[in-house]
Structures are given as structure tokens and as C-alpha cells.
Symmetry: none
Subunit: 502 residues, 2 copies
């Protein structure tokens, strides 16, 4: 009769040990397909262990397919001839034995992650595999004019913590109740009210669809509008958009801008159905599309069935002078505009909450065709944000941030104007959003300037790098993304630029 | 004043009758948008019913979006011009008028959601627009055997709240620092260690990619593996998967199962490149794919370049007897398996955190091609969950849940066996996961049984409804999803089934 020693079971329980012994014998072909195993009772008696132990081992082997049972006959070895030939049958090559080895090194993971988070100032801790992708051959520079990160001092931690506490205490049932596919009703209502009060946008909450970041929403929109459509993006523009279309294998055209925004004749010629644009504050040029061009674009959309505008309003909250620019959504009478906005700019880039507003007919289609998707934003954050908006904290926060950014921008511009850089620099489009354009008089190429800056510890991007098709007169313009720039780094950033230019 | 007859309420309760009367009047435009309804007290007195009855009817109508309440003012008819054409409407269809009505009342939102969440047992509160999708013509039934919701008593609120507080105090810099595209390193390390300790899976944290729900990860995987690939799903299977492929316009084949799982010859014939499967606990049959079939499937994947298996391990943590079934990922020597798991089953369906494990060559490709995507899970929840796993709470929680579900399953099965249903019922596949199959001896069709059950207040799904291609011998089998079933509803659920069958 089959027998195994229980003298050295290591850290295994008796049942685990028996399970492994039998499995190894099956893998090693010491037990052959169809072979009958001892009855539980006999086997237990023979091995000096309890029947339960044998029972558990058999049950596990049955559930994994190594054994099968025949009622009133007993337990038999399964046919495992399909197992890959060439693998080391018999010598413990299975997952289970592997994991045994792994159990000895317990502290590894923690120390790894500890190390990764020691480096406070880097944009993102990089894993080994990501480094392979070639994104981080240099140590991250200490000064970053390309980052959209939130300064830790700006996130409203204390009020947020208070609201999280309240939600966890008072909304427990809501927190574990699946929300509608479009998101938590309370949040969508709060957003609708906020939009009405502060952006003059009138929408019903059911037109608002929440998503974990705008990138996710673009993907949903492709599914909603169609993979067969041709999408158009602004050139220059926010590069990620075109990459998302490319990764979804949909046709994508790059439409040049003129001084008023997207060029309508080029758009018409492109054969595009859907135009993605940021009319209130174009990235990276900072351009605001004037009302006449907005109507021209709406006219383009209205001229054919299936045309659509995706209005990306990503940082309209931070317009520095005057009122916010009215959204195209609010002057759209033909239901052609999908409006997208995000809380990653106003709260923190690491809070993944965005939303889109669908015109009625698209909202209908969304509920008909895509409502099987679960909302991608966790309830916990949706309720916290809803309360944050409802109790007025969001508006207060935006005002505080606006004035903080205003002050920082003024300081930065003032310091540039007082520096040795001044005679070589022009500042453009500084009235809206969280970046402006710095034009430098220099003979150096854009690539060369960015390279030298990085060498000296300053990361800056050239406007020209945001063009898909090169245009003339766009060289020597650099994007100054100041939202994440600590004030104490301003002087050093200017000094580095001076050193390169002069 | 509005009045209704209660002389013929059929099988409806008073509250259901009243609810239907008012709803019909709203749909028929006998009650107009903005019209005020009688106060609960007056209405109750007038109709000769209790205030509670009116209250319940109003609450149901509010939660479905037919009414809204204004604190200290009363109850008003919502603008329902969004409802589908063809059903009695045509006026007021613009966004502006709708939202105007919606914004006059300040308290709406809160009371709306409050009402919606009073109903513990419903799967999801539906907005008006979602109703258009045809998902909720009846009031949600009180007993739901199709829900995957977390019972509020099971979410570890106190430890979660404590960890959130700690993270908000101690990890502020990390919270606002953009994580790598794959997710927060600390969380991925914690998951890697957990998988090693409890699932015998050996992976490096950089192979783990976090995402806001598995649905999002499927979409990422299509981008990673290719829109030109042919995807295969299990038939029967979890219907959402096929819908996601369909919505992405990629070729999708339904592969029949035999008694060991996915049928390899059919798979071979289908021309598929990628197979999506749940080998450890198939939904809905409960089947565990035995080891020999697992190797056959791995063999299939290894036979051609570009083939791949997506192993969905969605509720392996809740295997009731024996150890968890080893993952296919852990016996995959050819780097052909993508492993997917989620915390929506183990924590709460409203916590949107899932992850996938990519084999090295796919992880490399992911970082090369898709690392421009931001991680869709908010840092706040990633850090909280990381601490939850690291300090052992997750393992404790799973054990507690497992024993809770075990107990509930045993009670449910015991009660079925002791009931009048027993002679008509066979229970299958009750050893794993959070559902089992109830086979009923009946002459009624599956559709008829589900319809009658719903009428009596019980939502249950037939196994046959999960088949893309009808197969023989699958009728009269019903899926009992007991995770969200309150114990106090067990008797009533059995009673309803008895009533239908006997």
C-alpha cells in the first residue's frame, strides 16, 4: 500500500503534506492514470493520521483534477497526459513548492516600497520594468516646468479628512450600494448645480457621466460614438488624446490651428466626424477660441449627421482675469457638444474623478448601449466629493487656488522681467489656466535648449514638440507649467535659462 | 384633490397600488412637471390609508425619479421629458427646461439619494434616464438572488476608517504624487506578497497593473493584445465580458464548455487567439477546471505565437473547502497567462480596485506602449488598501467573510432541504465562491419561473440565460447568488419558489 513519511512536513499541515506527496507521485508518474488510491479510512489508519486529513487532501486533489472519485468504488488517479512534456515531473516544479521557497524572504517587498517613497521630489517612483521603457535614464530633475502635480500645500487635507470621516460614519449603506452606471446621483446633482451656478451650464444630472479620469471617458466616448468614426485633434495639442485614439485603432486627423483656434476649412477637408478641442484654454498655446469661431465650429458639427464636438474644459476654473469663458456646451442648440471636465486639476492629479456631459440623444444611447459598465470611480470618493461641493468647500477651494496661482504666476513673471532673461524673453497667453508660453530669442534649437536645461536640472518642454505636423514660427517657445513649481525654485529656474540663453 | 380608488388593487400592496397610480398619471401627463402633490398626511386621510403607505409610495417614486421633494415645501412631479418618445410625450424636451425645473429645489438631491438608499436590498438605484434603458419598469423586488452587493455588515468600516485617517495624516506627500502608470508601488508590493503567501503566485510588483475595475482592465488588454485578435469567451459565461469585446468591435467567439471546462477542440476550431476564462470557479456553472484541462489549455496557448489566456480569478478567495485552487498563472511556463483579480468581491462592489498580472513580455509591451495612461485608481484608496493588506487586515477580513458566507450558505441549503421545495430541488456546485446552482423539477419554462418570481418579489436568474448558443439539458437551473441575501429573507425566498413550483 502507498505510504508516506510524516516525519518532516516542514511548515506544512499534515493535510498539505499528504496532498503534496500524492500530487508529486502523480506528476512523477509513480501513480498512474486510473490507479486506485487507498480508501480514506484504511489510508488514515496506515499513515497514523485522521480520516479528516486524508479526506481534505483527497478533496483538494479532486478539485484540482489530479484525482476523481467514483461513488461506492473509491478514488482514482486522473489522466494527466496533457501536462507539458519536458517539464520536470516529479521534482516539485509546481507553484506550490515554488511558493514554499518564497515564504522565507518576508521583508523584501516592504523595504523595496520604502525605498521608492523616500524620494519625495520625483514625479513618480519608477518600477524596474518602467525604467526599461526608457522613461528615466536621468535622475529626475529638481525643477520641473512640465509637471501638473498638485503642490501638497494646496490640497485641502483637513476639510477632506473631515468629510471622509463623516461619509464613513453616516453613509455606510450608500457606500456599499452599487451606484447607477453614470455615477452616484448625489455627486452628479452637486456637479449639475455647481455648473449652473458657476459656469452657466444647464444640465440634468442624468446627462452627467462620472469616470476615473478623462482618459477613461475618451475610451467610453469612442465606444459610444463609434470605432468607424474619424476623430480630429488639435495640432498642436495635448499629445495623449491622439495617442488614445491611435491605441484604439480609430482614424485620427491632426487639424492645424490658426489665430482663432481650429481651422474650419482644414477640418472640413479632413473628413473628420468628431473634433476634440479645448476652446476655453488651449493646451499648449493658451489660445481662447473666440465666439465667432465657436459658432463656426458648431455650424460644422450641425451640417452633417453623426458629427460631434468634444469640448475639453480641463482648467477653465483657473482663468485669471474676467469671467470664465462660457462653454460651447451652453450655446449648443443642436445637441452636438460633449463637455468634459475633471477634478484632477482643481483637487489633485491623483484624485481620479472626471465627468462628461452628454447631449440628450447621446445620453439615451449611453444608457441603452453602455449602461452595463460599472462606474469606475469608487463610491467613497464620489460621496466625499459630493459633500465637498455641496457644502461650498469646492468653490472656496477653487477661489483659494486661483488666487494662489495668480500670485505665483505674477511672482514668476515679475522675476523673469527683472532678470537678465528679460531682454531675451516674451511672455504670451498668461491670462488663463496654469501655464503660459515663454518665447526666447536664441539661436539654439528647441531640442538643444531642452537638453541643456535638463542637464542643468530643469525640465522644460518646447511648444514645437506638441505639433504633429511642423509649422513655421513656432520655434523658441516654451511651456511654463507653474502650478507645481515651488516658489523657492523660481530664481534657480530663471538662472538656468539665463545661463543657456545668454 | 388627487384621488384614487383602492377597491381593486389586485395582488398589489396598498403602497404598490398607490405608487402605480401616481406613476401612470405622471406618464400620461395627467400630472405635469412641477405640479405639487398632496402632503402625505392629507393624502393619507383623503384616501383612507396610512401615512406610512403614502410615504412608501412617494419614496419609491422619488428614488425612481418621478417625484422630487423640496424641504418644507412638499412633493413635486419631476420633468420626465427624457422618457422615450412613443410613450406619451413630446413637449419640453430641451435640457434647459428640464434642468430649470430641477434646480428650483434645493433639497432635491439630498432627499433623492436618501430615499434611494433606504431600500437595502435593491441592486442599484436607477435614475430616470437609466429607466429608459428598460431596466426597471417594476419597483425593485425586496429579495434579490442576482445581486453581488456587499452586505453593509460585512464591510470593515472601523478599520478602514482608521487607515484612511492614518493615510490622510501621514502620507500627504504620497497622496498628491502621481503614481506610476501601473499603480502605487506600495500597493502592488503588498499584493505581490499576499499572492505569494496565500495563492502560491510568484510575481514581481511591476508585473501587477492596477485598474478601476476589471472591466477597465479588459479594455486595456484589448489595446495591449490587439484589436485585430480574435477573443473567445466561455459559453455559458459572465455576459459582460462578451459585451465589452462587442463594444470594442473586436471579433468574439463563444466557446462551449464540457464537464471539464472550455472545450479545447471547439476553441481550436474557433480561430481564437485569446481565451477569457474563469478556471477556478466558473460563473455561472460553478465548475472548477481540472488540472489536465488546464494543461491542455496552456498547451493550446503555447502552440501559436500571440495566443494568450486571460484567467479571471474573481472569487477564488471564497472557496469553502480545502485550499484555494492554484492559479493557472502559477503553472504557466510559457508566459501565456494574464491573471486578473479584483477587490470588489472581497471588500465591496463599490470599491473599484482590480489588478492584472502580466507575463514579463506583455509587461514590457505595456510599459512601452501604454504607460502614457494615468492609473485610474485614486491614490487615496490605493494607499489605504496597501496598508489594509500590509497590516494583515485583509487576510483577517477574508477569513471572517469566508466563514460568514459559509454559514449563510449552509443555512440556506439546510433550509431548502428542510422545506417543501426539497423533493423538487437539487443543489449543485456549492463548494466554491458565492453562488450555487439550484436545479428545480418543474414543467415551467425558465422565463416563466423568473417572471413569476419577480411578480412575487424575488429576483432570480436562470442558468440558461447565460448561454449565447442554447445547449440541451440546461433548463430549470437557477443561480443562487447568496452573498447579498439577508438571512431574514431566506425563508421568504424559499416560500416564493415553493409557491411557484409546487
Amino acid at each position: 500500500m502507498l505510504t508516506y513519511s510524516f516525519s518532516d512536513t516542514g511548515s506544512d499541515s499534515l493535510y498539505q503534506h499528504l496532498y503534496k506527496c500524492i500530487k508529486n507521485d502523480i506528476l512523477a508518474r509513480n501513480l498512474r492514470a486510473g490507479e486506485k488510491l487507498p480508501s480514506k479510512r484504511t489510508f488514515a489508519k496506515n499513515l497514523g493520521i485522521s480520516v479528516i486529513t486524508v479526506e481534505n487532501a483527497y478533496a483538494q486533489l479532486i478539485s484540482e483534477g489530479y484525482l476523481y472519485s467514483v461513488p461506492k468504488k473509491g478514488f482514482f488517479v486522473s489522466d494527466i497526459s496533457m501536462l507539458p512534456s519536458g517539464t520536470a515531473f516529479g521534482q516539485n516544479s509546481t507553484a506550490r513548492s515554488l511558493s514554499k521557497a518564497a515564504f522565507s524572504q518576508n521583508g523584501t517587498v516592504r523595504s523595496l516600497s520604502g525605498a521608492a517613497f523616500g524620494q519625495n521630489s520625483t514625479a513618480r517612483p519608477l518600477s524596474g520594468a518602467e525604467k526599461q521603457a526608457g522613461t528615466a535614464n536621468l535622475p529626475s530633475p529638481p525643477i520641473d516646468l512640465t509637471s501638473n502635480q498638485t503642490d501638497i500645500r494646496n490640497f485641502p487635507f483637513s476639510i477632506w479628512a473631515k468629510l471622509v470621516r463623516e461619509v464613513l460614519n453616516e453613509n455606510q449603506q450608500e457606500l456599499v450600494t452599487n451606484p447607477p452606471c453614470g455615477g452616484v446621483w448625489e455627486l452628479r446633482s452637486a456637479i449639475a448645480r455647481h455648473l449652473k451656478d458657476f459656469r452657466g451650464i444647464n444640465v440634468a444630472p442624468e446627462q452627467i457621466i462620472m469616470g476615473a479620469g478623462t482618459e477613461y471617458l475618451y475610451s467610453l466616448l469612442i465606444q459610444l460614438l463609434g470605432f468607424d468614426k474619424t476623430y480630429a485633434v488639435e495640432d498642436p495639442g495635448y499629445r495623449k488624446i491622439a495617442r488614445i485614439y491611435e491605441k484604439h485603432k480609430v482614424a485620427c486627423r491632426h487639424i492645424p490651428l490658426d489665430e482663432s483656434g481650429v481651422c474650419v476649412s482644414a477640418l472640413e477637408k479632413s473628413g473628420a466626424d468628431v473634433l476634440h478641442l479645448s476652446p476655453s484654454h488651449h493646451f499648449p498655446t493658451g489660445l481662447v477660441t473666440p465666439i465667432s469661431r465657436r459658432y463656426e465650429l458648431l455650424g460644422w458639427a450641425a451640417r452633417a449627421e453623426g458629427r460631434c464636438l468634444i469640448e475639453d474644459d480641463y482648467d477653465s476654473e483657473f482663468r485669471m482675469t474676467g469671467n470664465p469663458i462660457p462653454a460651447m456646451q451652453s450655446i449648443d442648440l443642436s445637441e452636438k457638444v460633449v463637455y468634459i471636465n475633471t477634478f484632477t486639476k482643481t483637487l489633485a492629479s491623483t484624485v481620479r474623478i472626471s465627468y462628461m456631459i452628454l447631449p440628450r440623444h447621446l445620453a439615451d444611447r449611453f444608457y441603452r448601449e453602455l449602461s452595463f459598465y460599472s462606474c469606475t470611480v469608487s463610491n467613497f470618493e464620489q460621496y466625499t466629493l459630493a459633500h465637498f461641493i455641496e457644502n461650498g468647500s469646492f468653490e472656496k477651494h477653487i477661489n483659494r487656488m486661483r488666487s494662489y496661482y495668480h500670485k505665483k504666476r505674477d511672482l514668476l513673471i515679475q522675476k523673469i522681467r527683472q532678470s537678465e532673461l528679460a531682454p531675451h524673453a516674451i511672455i504670451r497667453e498668461e491670462d488663463a489656466g496654469l501655464h503660459f508660453i515663454l518665447e526666447l530669442r536664441t539661436g539654439l534649437s528647441d531640442t538643444e535648449i531642452c537638453r541643456r536645461a535638463l542637464q542643468k536640472g530643469l525640465r522644460i518642454a518646447a511648444l514645437s514638440s506638441f505639433y504633429a505636423q511642423m509649422a513655421s514660427g513656432i520655434e523658441h517657445r516654451f511651456i511654463v507649467n507653474y502650478s507645481a513649481l515651488p516658489e523657492e525654485q523660481i530664481d534657480e529656474a530663471i538662472r538656468i535659462l539665463c545661463e543657456i540663453i545668454t
